[in-house]
Structures are given as structure tokens and as C-alpha cells.
Symmetry: C2
Subunit: 445 residues, 2 copies
């Protein structure tokens, strides 16, 4: 089956009017959530390091860096905004665990700003990028992730390329080449979790995806079967491949409504645990000093990703169930503040995390957690989280998302400007120049 | 074993004086051969397409594009010069089939030109980059290539990162991060052979390798075990891993003397066949119109890479034993001219290539070919090439390399300027500003 060609044909012929209303609405929810994450992290060390390294080589001031005064060429803007989108690990996630927006929107908004494209084209290209990344991801699941790939990196570049190619209005052959140029640059290893490189995977995906579309627009060629060929993406980077997951129901069924948003500033694998610990803490008005032991049962995969018993930094804390449970009981929260270096290294948190015992249990779902707290007096309290807050079964409302946005953005831009960014996001479909979305994030004097 | 750390320790502590004379000499031979390939292809369509796509976004004019008047920022110069290095598929190859120079030198020379570093630092960093790429390549051979990776792309970024990190004089921790940032961006699929993306793999490796070193210089972190960790490079991208191939004899035994240079403008897999056909043609003064059938026996791998029976373009011709044998008999040559689109599509060549019958024979070595020609009168002629010209057993001499260089560069720069570039390459060890190497390639009015 000509998978790459069939996909390209769909992407090129799709019209905005074809998108169901719920897909358009979800594209707008994703936009607000993504911009909050990118602006909220703009002063993080990871972003500062990357910017210091890249800035001497950047081109014309074509696109805005969110929440900053600098402007870079669109390829480097996509790189840096892609990094900042993911630094807090607070960005959105398709229910099959691909971070959805962070590689795609930075590529699209940089190009839209430069070319003054309208908001509808932006949303449309985004929805198609998500469709591409998620469908290809599903076609190689679980053999792709199991191999050790950071699938947001490897699939992100495909989504960004497809989306950017749509925005550039490429023809079918050029779309095929853009997809091929993207698959042959797909990269990102799970080994980098806990280091700055994890965010680089998204920045690089955004940059390389946009570059792939730009190359294809000049008729730079690749294979016509980049996804499905024997030495192509699916067979080289995965042990399983179901091409029907890519082509079946294209244009009839969309992946974007399966997008999830995080109430907590860490990987989804820890959400049920944080949610459950906060629930127990409130329900029994627990004093952390009365806790003798915390037993947490999660899926083996969740534990593989989040099993760091003694994190040394906030970044490492985002991969530690031990830390997550400790702060959930002590702070009754799991926001960005709970993953500050100082919190990870506070004696109270270290003392409580040492009382956490984790168990890998194949009977537990990947977004579930089973928590038993043993108190100093010997009593035990139990709570099982079937569906963590933020999952499709318990989604964040539009109001929840706005509150999350304000929590991230107000410390950077203040309440007034945060409100202005929200207003632009809400009005995206009527913007004749989507670049307004980016420029409204530049800090006012 | 702490493979990444041990390698980084060696790279950081190596001094130019430690390099054996034969390694320094080979670094100079590689420099001349590489510059010839890069200059000779500077007007190819692949380079033009890439440059057209990239130029609107490039930064300050920090580094020269070989053989052209444009200057770009060092990251984009590394990208474009990396692409042009490989477009003709004429660049050098380590005996285990990694293209050696094309991802490393473009990164190094761009940075050297910008920072006015001297020629010895350039050669030293290059030798260490080759050592890194080849040793890591050997550690995952053959399971890495067999998976479907274009190993020049995946290993090139590691070599470029190590070399650039040496040039940037990074400390051991930063060198570890540079290696980690490179391994997590390693990419390139064999599926792209025959398309422009094959050259992009090298350009991208040069660019990403240099970027990895620049990021590490600003303390952008990665894993400390990027090569050897369970979700690191070796285990995710290969089915076999021998860490001793990386660490054993570091600084005592060097890979660069195993470098090979191509007399023919295509993959090494076709060299023995071209060599043998030319030899037969000369020995028997063959008229191609008297040939009824050509039987070629090569290794199964050689045939896998070069089995295109009916190439439509010069680029595809570089992956066609059928085409290679035809032009070797008709033109008695295998230079760049023999892979022009017009030659691939000439009726005479098409007629003769249709008489080629290929056989995969596991008893034939990878750089060997066994050729039997059946003439119209029924006679058969046989020749087996044990060692193709350009292999370690029959290396190109310094004079051969200079002749190859002139053949590539004179059509672009003229004989006088080609001679000036050769003189600069010969004097590289005494250059206080290695950027002279790049600037001497700018066409004079």
C-alpha cells in the first residue's frame, strides 16, 4: 500500500471546512495550553542555554520568541520556542502519549508570523499535523516506543513537516518529499529523559519539520515511500507496523479530540499518583509527619519512566514518583513550583520521599495509581485513582485551561497582558495575521 | 563500562603531538579529497535546491560556501557544505564503509574560519572526529547498518560533534554532553539512497554535530551515558554492541590510516565492477556493439545497494551496477561525467545495460567483482577484481588524488585557482588561520 502517498493526498486536499467543529475547538484549546507552557518557561535555564548557543548564528528577525524581546529567523525561532514549549513537561498529550502541540505549533506560528498567514490556516495545518504524527505513531505502537525512542521527538518532526507543508501549500509530490525528508531526520532517545536534551527533541523536531517543508517547496527530493518502505521509518525505527492505522478513515475520524491537558507539571505517568495523594491528603487532613510509609502501585511502564528514587534537580524530580508523592502530600499540589530545585532538595521532601515504596503491577492501567498510606499509629489508608484529572474521562474544562494558563503566564507577563494573550487565542479564527498571537507575548515595558 | 566518559576523556586530553605522522598525513589527504568533492559539486541541483530553501533564514556571513560567492552563518554553512561534499558520492570512505570527511570537515572548517583557528587544530580535531565516528561505528557493526540506517548520517553527527567539541576546547563534562546531544539526534535512513536526502544526511550531521558542541559549550546537558545506556544510541539503533571497539587501544591505534579514496564517482560497492569492466575493455580493445551479455557476480550486499536495473537520473545511476558496467565499457571511465542524466538516458547506454545480468554471490568480497563478458560471436572473456583501485590494497597515490582534485575543481574554478587551493591544502599545518582554505575557493572574477 502506498501509505506515504495516500497520506499526502489527504493532507493536500483537506479544506478547513472539512474539519468537524470539535476538531477546530480542540485546536484552539491546544493553542492556549501550548502558549501558556511556552511563555511560562521562557526564563528557564534550558531555554537560556540554548539561546546563548544559537543566537550568534541566527538570521533575520522574522519571528518572535514567546515571552521575550528577541526575534530570530523562523527556523531558529521554531527551535527555541519548541524547546520552551516542553521544558516544564506541562504540554498537551494525545491519549497514546505523544506530546501533541510542542513540535507542531512552534513551526507553524513562526512561518505564519513571517508570511502573515491567517488564523484559520494555522489551526487547519495544526490539526493535520496532529493527525499525521498521531496516526503514524499509532501505526508503529507499541514497537516504536518500546525500542527506546522518545516518540514525541521522532513523531513530532513528522507532524511538524506535514503541518508546515500544508501551510506552505505544497503540492502532493512536494508533500511526499516533505514527509520523506522528515522521517529520515526523526530522532530522540529516551535515555535523555531528565536532561535538557529531552526538550531539544521537540525544538529540533519543530525546526527540522519546518526545514523539511521549506526544502520540499524547492523540490528537494526524498523517497516516495518514506514511511512504509523496507528501509523506511516504520521498519527501521519500530518492530511493529500497521499501515491501516495511518490510512483508515482519513478525514472521517480525527485524533485531535483525543488530546489531553495536564493539571500537573510533569509526565502523565505521574498524574494519577499526584492526584491520588492530594485526594488522600485532603480527605484525611493528613499531616505528612504522621506518614510512616507510602506504597504506590503503578504500571511497569509508568515505573520505568518515573523510577528515579533520589532526584537531584527539579528536572529529575519530574521523573520521580518518590518526589511526586512527597510533594503531593506536603504541598497538596503538583504545579511547576513543586518541581523547583529547592523543593526537590528540601529536607522535608527528601525525608518523606524515602518512605515511598513503589510496585510495578501489570494489572494497573497506565494512567492509574493505587496508593496505600501507612500512618505512624499503624492505620492504613487506601485510594485507587481510576482516571487521573486531565484524562479523557476527567478532562480539564476550558475554564481549567484558562486558570492553568494564567498560573503559567502571569508571573512572566502580568495579569493584564496574560488576559490579552488569552483574548487573541480565543479570537484566532478571525485573525487575518496569526503573527499577532506571537507578538502579543512580547513583554511590555 | 563508562564508554562515553572514557571516550570523552581521551578526546579532551589528546594533543596534536600525540598523533602519529601517518595520521596527520592522512588527515591532509582527506582534506584535499574532501575539498575537491565539495567544490566540484557546488553547482549541482541538490546544492541549489538546499541553498534556495535555507538562504532566507541564514545568519551573519561567517563562513564560506565552497566554490561560491555566498557566505552564511557557520551552522548553515556546515549544512550546505556538508551536502555538497557528498552530492557526487565521490567522497572518502573508511574501510568499514563510513564516509569519513563529509560530515566532519564542513563543521570544523566553518567554525575555524569564524574563529580564525589554525590549521593544526583543524587537522587534530578532524582526526579525533574520524576516530569517534569509526570506533562507534565498529562497535555497532554490522547490526546497525543491517537495521536500515544510513550509517554515514548516524555516525557522521557523532564524529562532527566530537571534532567540533575538540575545536571548541570543551572540558570533559561538556564533551560528554556534546556526544550525548549528538547521539540523540543521529538519523538517516537507507531508503533515501538515490534521492537528494542522502546528501542531506551529511549536511544535517555536520550542522547538528556543530550545534551539539555549541550547546554543550553553554552547559546544555544530556545523558552522561549517551552511547552505552539501555535506551542510548547503541541499544536503540543497533542489534549488536561491542563497547571494546570504542575504548580498546584509544590513542595507540588510529582509524584514519584505513581511509580510502574513490577513483569513481559512485558508491564503493560498484568500484570493483567499473574497474574490472574498464580493464577488460582495454585488454581486449572491446567494441561495445560486439557485447551480447555481461554477467556480474558481486556480494549480496553490494547488489542490495546497487541493484537498480533501470535508473532514470544520474543520481539513480549511482546505484545501478547495470549502468556502471555499461558506461565502463562505452566510456572506459567512471567519473562524474558518466553519471550525468543525459548519459544515463542515452540509447547506447540503455541498450548495453539491458545486456547486464547480475548475480548475488556470498563468496565474493564486498569490494570485489567477478565479470564475464559474452561476445556476439560466442566467445567469453572473464576477469575477477580482487581489490578495486582505491582500496587499502591498491590505494590512490597523492598524485592520483591531486589529479582527481583537478578533474573536479578545474571546471568550477579554472586551473590556476585549483592549483592555489591545492597549495593551501598542502600547507595546512602552517596556516595560522585555517579559514584561508575556505576563502581560496571563492571564484575570482
Amino acid at each position: 500500500m502506498a501509505v506515504t502517498k495516500n497520506l499526502a493526498c489527504f493532507l493536500v486536499n483537506s479544506r478547513y471546512e472539512d474539519l468537524p467543529l470539535e476538531v477546530r475547538h480542540e485546536a484552539k484549546r491546544a493553542l492556549l495550553n501550548w502558549m501558556g507552557c511556552a511563555i511560562g518557561s521562557t526564563h528557564q535555564e534550558t531555554v537560556a542555554c540554548a539561546l546563548a548557543a544559537i543566537k550568534p548564528f541566527a538570521g533575520p528577525a522574522q519571528a518572535t520568541l514567546f515571552g521575550r524581546n528577541e526575534r530570530l529567523d523562523i527556523l531558529n525561532a521554531a527551535l527555541v520556542n519548541g524547546i520552551s514549549s516542553h521544558v516544564l513537561d506541562y504540554d498537551d498529550t494525545h491519549s497514546r502519549a505523544i506530546h501533541t502541540s510542542s513540535a507542531i505549533y512552534p513551526a507553524l506560528l513562526a512561518y505564519s508570523e513571517w508570511q502573515q498567514l491567517n488564523g484559520r490556516e494555522l489551526l487547519h495545518a495544526f490539526a493535520l499535523g496532529v493527525e499525521t504524527a498521531c496516526r503514524i505513531g499509532l501505526s508503529v505502537s507499541p514497537g516504536h516506543s518500546d525500542t527506546g525512542w522518545h516518540i514525541t521527538g521522532t513523531l513530532g518532526v513528522l507532524g511538524a513537516a506535514a503541518a508546515a507543508a500544508k501551510l506552505l501549500r505544497l503540492n502532493e509530490q512536494q508533500m511526499i518529499w516533505a514527509l520523506g525528508t522528515a522521517v529520515t531526520q526523526a530522532s530522540g532517545l529516551r535515555e535523555m529523559f531528565g536532561s535538557m536534551c529531552k526538550s531539544l527533541h521537540l525544538g529540533s523536531a519543530a525546526q527540522k519539520g519546518l526545514q523539511a517543508a521549506l526544502l520540499a517547496s524547492k523540490n528537494f527530493t526524498s523517497s516516495d515511500q518514506g514511511i512504509e518502505a523496507p528501509a523506511g521509518f516504520a521498519h527501521v525505527l519500530a518492530s511493529t507496523f500497521n499501515p491501516l492505522a495511518i490510512t483508515d478513515g482519513l478525514g472521517k475520524r480525527y485524533e485531535l479530540p483525543l488530546n489531553m491537558y495536564k493539571p500537573f507539571a510533569c509526565g502523565l505517568w505521574m498524574h494519577a499518583t499526584i492526584d491520588g495523594c492530594i485526594t488522600l491528603s485532603h480527605a484525611h487532613n493528613l499531616n505528612p509527619s504522621n506518614i510512616a510509609r507510602i506504597d504506590i502501585r503503578v504500571s511497569p511502564t509508568a515505573l520505568e519512566f518515573t523510577g528515579k528514587p533520589a532526584p537531584a534537580t527539579g528536572l529529575e524530580g519530574k521523573f520521580s514518583l518518590y518526589h511526586a508523592a512527597a510533594v503531593a502530600f506536603i504541598h497538596r499540589s503538583g504545579g511547576e513550583a513543586q518541581f523547583a530545585d529547592a523543593v526537590v532538595n528540601s529536607p522535608e521532601v527528601i525525608a518523606l520521599r524515602s518512605k515511598v515504596v513503589t510496585h510495578a503491577d501489570a494489572s494497573i492501567g497506565k494512567f492509574q495509581s493505587d496508593i496505600t498510606v501507612t500512618l505512624s499509629d499503624g492505620r492504613t489508608l487506601h485510594h485507587k485513582v481510576e482516571h487521573a484529572l486531565g484524562t479523557l474521562e476527567r478532562p480539564m474544562s476550558d475554564a481549567d485551561l484558562e486558570e492553568k494558563f494564567r498560573g503559567l503566564v502571569e508571573p512572566v507577563l502580568g495579569a493584564k497582558q496574560a488576559g490579552d494573550v488569552i483574548a487573541k487565542c480565543r479570537a484566532v479564527e478571525s485573525l487575518s495575521d496569526a503573527g499577532e498571537l506571537a507578538r502579543v507575548t512580547v513583554p511590555r515595558q
